[in-house]
């Protein structure tokens, strides 16, 4: 039981850390995106409307 709680706490910690890091990195961004896969050119995201 305690191991499961520990695993849940770890997952939560990783999630909070990752989202915090992302917020930190993207705060001063010019809406560029991180695309981590493949060798193809990244398409411009001008066609996508903003999230909010």
């Amino acid at each position: 039981m305690s191991r499961k709680l520990g695993a849940m706490a770890l997952a939560l910690g990783i999630l909070v850390g990752a989202m915090g890091l992302k917020t930190l990195v993207t705060t001063r961004s010019n809406s560029a995106v991180v695309m981590a896969n493949g060798v193809s050119p990244v398409p411009p995201i001008k066609n996508l409307p903003p999230a909010n």
């Binding site: 997952a11 890091l21 995106v33």
Partner: protein, 218 residues
């Protein structure tokens, strides 16, 4: 592409395909995605919505596959401590948490929700993978993991994620330089090349001391 073919071919020929199944799956999916993207790019063009859809949906799929590959390496690192079950539990929680967070971010969007969601999920999973890889490297050092292949595969993932983070920073800091735009696609070759070199140069029985990799020579 050829590095990917080399990695998968070596895995099949030396009967390691199932042992490194999720790494192979990522490389195969990556090659298939590249072929699909090239096909769509050729017929519809870079600024077409078709290419945009093909790119972002395949990227989301590939990021999930990369996340699973990181988890498979974590399972192997923690396997000797009988913690594989908990690693999977953490992985499922992380995936569900990231999906939930991504949906919460894009839920307000009324237009092209699915594409926006795929993009957001891909970005969020990338950062989760980055944090997870660094934690895994910490665990490799702490547990004094000595399997050369495992250590080098974790290291190459760390370098890959870090290089993309650096690339992202460059895109933001110097957007006017076009050369920066081409760095990310070039980095796409890094993972299959480094995994192929690892599999070619080191046998399953090779051992090293990871502490030596971080020790500063005096």
């Amino acid at each position: 592409m050829s590095a990917g073919v080399c990695f998968v071919a070596l895995s099949v020929l030396r009967a390691w395909f199932l042992k490194y199944f999720f790494l192979n799956l990522y490389v195969i999916l990556s090659m298939s995605a590249d072929l699909l993207r090239l096909y769509v790019l050729k017929y519809y063009g870079l600024e077409s919505p078709q290419y945009e859809y093909a790119y972002y949906y395949t990227d989301c799929l590939l990021t999930v596959a990369l996340f699973v590959a990181v988890i498979s390496l974590a399972s192997r690192v923690f396997g000797e401590l009988n913690l594989t079950r908990y690693v999977r539990f953490v992985a499922v929680l992380l995936l569900l948490g990231t999906v939930g967070f991504s949906y919460a971010v894009v839920a307000q969007s009324t237009e092209r929700l699915a594409t926006r969601f795929a993009l957001e999920l891909s970005q969020n999973l990338y950062f989760v993978g980055l944090v997870l890889t660094y934690l895994l490297w910490g665990a490799v050092l702490k547990l004094k993991e000595t399997r050369t292949r495992l250590v080098q595969m974790v290291l190459s993932l760390g370098l890959y994620f870090s290089a993309y983070a650096g690339c992202y920073a460059l895109v933001n800091l110097a957007p006017k330089y076009e050369v920066v735009q081409y760095l990310a696609p070039i980095l796409g070759c890094f993972l299959p090349i480094s995994w192929s070199l690892t599999i070619m140069r080191h046998s399953e029985d090779s051992r090293l001391i990871p502490a030596r990799l971080v020790a500063v020579p005096r």
